[in-house]
Amino acid sequence: MAARATIIPFRPRPEKKQLISDGVLGMLVFVFVEIMLFAGFISAFVIIKSRAVGSVWPPVNQPRLPVESTAINTLALIASGVVLLIAHRAHLRARRSGEDGAVRRGPGPASPRGLGGLPGDSTGRLLVAATLLGGTFVVLQGVEWLALIREGLTITSSTYGALFYTIIGAHAVHAVAAIAALGWATMRLGAGLLTREALSTVAIFWYFVVLVWPFLYVVVYL
């Protein structure tokens, strides 16, 4: 490479204002993939349903899905999403009013970013509530599954059962992963290490799990 007669001024890199932070952007991209995954499942469901013999769906010899109890369960999930939304906003607000966040609760090394839980910050309690509500949803779903299996709906009993367990099971796997992530966020908050970005990243995943559910409910259960 040709050297030049003058030295080109290399400026130090200015701190950049990002439109969307790294974690949130990465999670949004991931959620997009997930949306397409469930879109694939839903289209499979619709196509196979449209080919049902004599347009009878669900098949005559198969148990019905528990529409009402699942509706109530759906409310638990949505409530969990709403609580998380409130927690999310409380966290943002607390961060903003807490200046550099020097006021910290709980033990642990002083974090350089100083984002500990602040006095009067309800984030922690709300996070726990959201996690518990989400857990309730998963447990109730599991109970329903056990009942359905006893009634004779299994993954091999028909394409109906296969679709049900595959799609709803895929959602359950996501719910469990998201609950684990919420648990992680709660622990980080307790240690005073939960950044805005981290909470937003985790929260987006849970919002996705909550928001995709009504679509699945309408398509699969109704």
């Binding site: 490479m1 030049r4 080109i8 001024p9 991931f30 499979a44 394409t159």
Partner: protein, 589 residues
């Protein structure tokens, strides 16, 4: 650009990184450096190319000389083995060669360097990406050796053949195949998240969206296409594994399932996938063409808009693979129209490339030869695609050697020509040595000529109605006649020549790496940021206090009133023009 004394000792500049993490080969295995991960992808991909190439050799021998004992295979290729070989050849070449090398290796290598970042945004996710990919490689290789052999249901894995072991006769192989492909997709998902985020959030100060080199744009658009299309296929693959292993009946008409469902899910992914591999190659080629034509890209923004439009359109053409799968003729009409439409932007890109060449001062280096060959050969692939896209013509052509020749005229330019173009162009940057140009040109001609000699005959076979996926044509009297066998022999011998010619490439790599002349920072006098750092770049790419700042787009070649015919992106306006570097020599001027 500038080399103050301290720059020469850059080797120590990043010492502070050296003591992170484990040492020795473990350090290599657990590196989060995007360049190391790129190399891991590259060498795994090249190894797999050898595996896939060996498979091609074996089944081409069987086709040309039916039922002889193939040297190196240790016997006659049975029908089951033949099916397994073609299936895994296709799978490996697309998912373990084209994608890891073009998308993952060059994406990883180039994106941070070209946008002026020290690494990817999520280095650990990046490392995880390769690790998952590595596991997937082991799975697919292992699937070849399990009982029953590797999957034998064709790379498109249509059920019921793929779903039921009583049809494909590879109970374990088929499941491992789906799992391997699934893992591989997960790896690229992790990688793609990094690509998109890095381009959005880690650009050097001063670099606006339209200052980003086209190859980066194209790799990122390709990643987005991949992300958008892979979900449904993953859903389909989960259902396919369930069909194979626990006996659900998603694709089994007898239990109310639908085999065509898989075709939709597969091709909804499959067609965008061809653009996923095409776009990185297109990007590589345009970088090389501008550099060696010393001309600004013709219509930089138009190219970006075109690429995005192509990406959008590519989601609406998938059923052109299913014209004879019993889809409604009215649907076939619609997909004929969208397929013909999508050739317009692709043709436009080819014209842009030619317009960029027009009037340039062209230097025919080895990378430039590869780039030009890409345009010429891909054109043949694109034009034959139009025949196939017309539903009427496709009823005849479908599943003949015409289709096979079509997509090899697209995939070979992409995966092989594009890769060689990129590899020879960035070799000085990646390994710090110049490649031998004379050997490179021998390798070029001995690859390109046999390539055409393999696949033009296959067009002839296809037009003669020769069905693909048959292991021994002499068993079918209606397919065996008309001198077709001599055409097959001709193609196979051409393949042998081409495979042998690859030895030149490996020898050239080894020799140049061992004893080639040391590469300067910017051997091709190109503008983009990767040429402003050492060859090879240090950990962190630039010294932390010397991260580049961008002042202009990457294609300012032959700007009037400048003494030099290039203008690096990181050079402020008004820098003095005289060149005083003794070691730059005459090269490239």
């Amino acid at each position: 650009m500038v080399e103050p004394a301290v720059d020469l000792t850059h080797g120590h500049a990043h010492d502070d990184h050296a003591h992170h993490g484990p040492q020795g080969w473990l350090k290599y295995l657990w590196s989060t450096d995007h360049k190391v991960i790129a190399m891991q992808y590259m060498f795994t991909g090249m190894f797999m190319a050898l595996v896939g190439g060996f498979m091609a050799y074996v089944f081409r021998m069987q086709l040309a000389f039916p039922d002889i004992s193939v040297p190196g295979w240790g016997g006659v290729v049975s029908m089951g083995e033949y099916n397994s070989l073609v299936t895994n050849h296709g799978t490996i070449m697309i998912f373990w060669v084209a994608m890891p090398v073009l998308l993952a290796a060059f994406g990883n290598y180039l994106i941070p360097l070209m946008v002026g970042a020290d690494d990817m945004v999520f280095p650990k996710i990046n490392r995880l990406s390769f690790q998952v990919f590595f596991v997937s490689t082991i799975v697919i290789l292992a699937s070849l050796f399990v009982e029953g052999g590797g999957f034998a249901g064709a790379w498109t894995a249509y059920p019921p053949l793929s779903a039921d072991a009583t049809y494909n006769l590879t109970p374990l192989g088929s499941t491992l195949w789906v799992i391997g492909v699934g893992l591989e997709f997960v790896a690229f998902l992790l990688g793609g998240i990094n690509f998109i985020t890095t381009l959005m959030n880690s650009r050097a100060p001063g670099m606006r969206a339209f200052d980003v080199p086209l190859v980066v744009w194209m790799i990122v658009v390709a990643s987005i296409l991949f992300m958008l299309s892979v979900g449904p296929l993953l859903a389909g693959a989960i259902m396919l594994v369930f069909d194979q292993t626990i006996g659900t009946g998603f694709y089994n008409p007898a239990t109310g399932g639908d085999p065509i469902l898989w075709q939709h899910l597969f091709w909804f992914f499959g067609h965008p996938e061809v653009y996923v591999v095409l776009l990185p190659a297109m990007g590589v080629v345009i970088e090389i063409i501008t550099t060696f034509a010393r001309k600004k890209v013709f219509g930089y923004r138009i190219v970006i808009f075109t690429v995005v439009a192509t990406g959008v359109l590519s989601f609406f053409v998938w059923a052109h693979h299913q014209f004879i799968a019993g889809i409604d003729p009215r649907m076939a009409n619609i997909f004929t129209i969208t397929t013909l439409l999508i050739s317009v932007p692709i043709a436009e890109l080819c014209f842009v490339y030619i317009a960029t060449l027009y009037g340039g001062s062209i230097r025919l280096t080895t990378p430039m030869l590869w780039a030009l060959a890409f345009v010429a050969e891909f054109l043949i692939g694109g034009v034959t695609g139009i025949f196939l896209g017309a539903a009427g013509a496709d009823i005849y052509f479908h599943d003949t050697y015409f289709v096979l020749a079509h997509f090899h005229y697209t995939f070979f330019p992409i995966a092989i020509i594009g890769t060689y173009a990129a590899f020879t162009y960035w070799f000085p940057k990646m390994f710090g040595k110049m490649m031998d140009d004379r050997l490179g040109k021998w390798h070029f001609w001995l690859t390109i000529i046999p390539f055409n000699m393999i696949f033009i005959p296959l067009f002839v076979l296809g037009m003669g109605g020769q069905h693909r996926r048959i292991s021994n044509y002499s068993s079918f009297s209606e397919l065996a006649g008309d001198g077709f066998q001599s055409v097959r022999i001709f193609a196979t011998i051409s393949l042998l020549i081409m495979l042998a010619a690859q030895l030149i490439f490996f020898y050239n790599c080894w020799k140049s790496w061992r004893s080639g002349p040391k590469a300067p920072k910017n051997p091709w006098k190109a503008n983009s940021l990767e040429w402003t750092t050492e060859s090879p770049p240090p950990h962190g790419n630039w010294r932390p206090d010397r991260m580049p700042v961008v002042y202009r787009g990457p294609y300012e070649y032959s700007v009037p009133d400048r003494e030099e015919d290039y203008w690096p992106q990181n050079e402020p306006d008004g820098a003095p023009l005289q060149v005083v570097d003794p070691d730059a020599g005459e090269q490239g001027r």
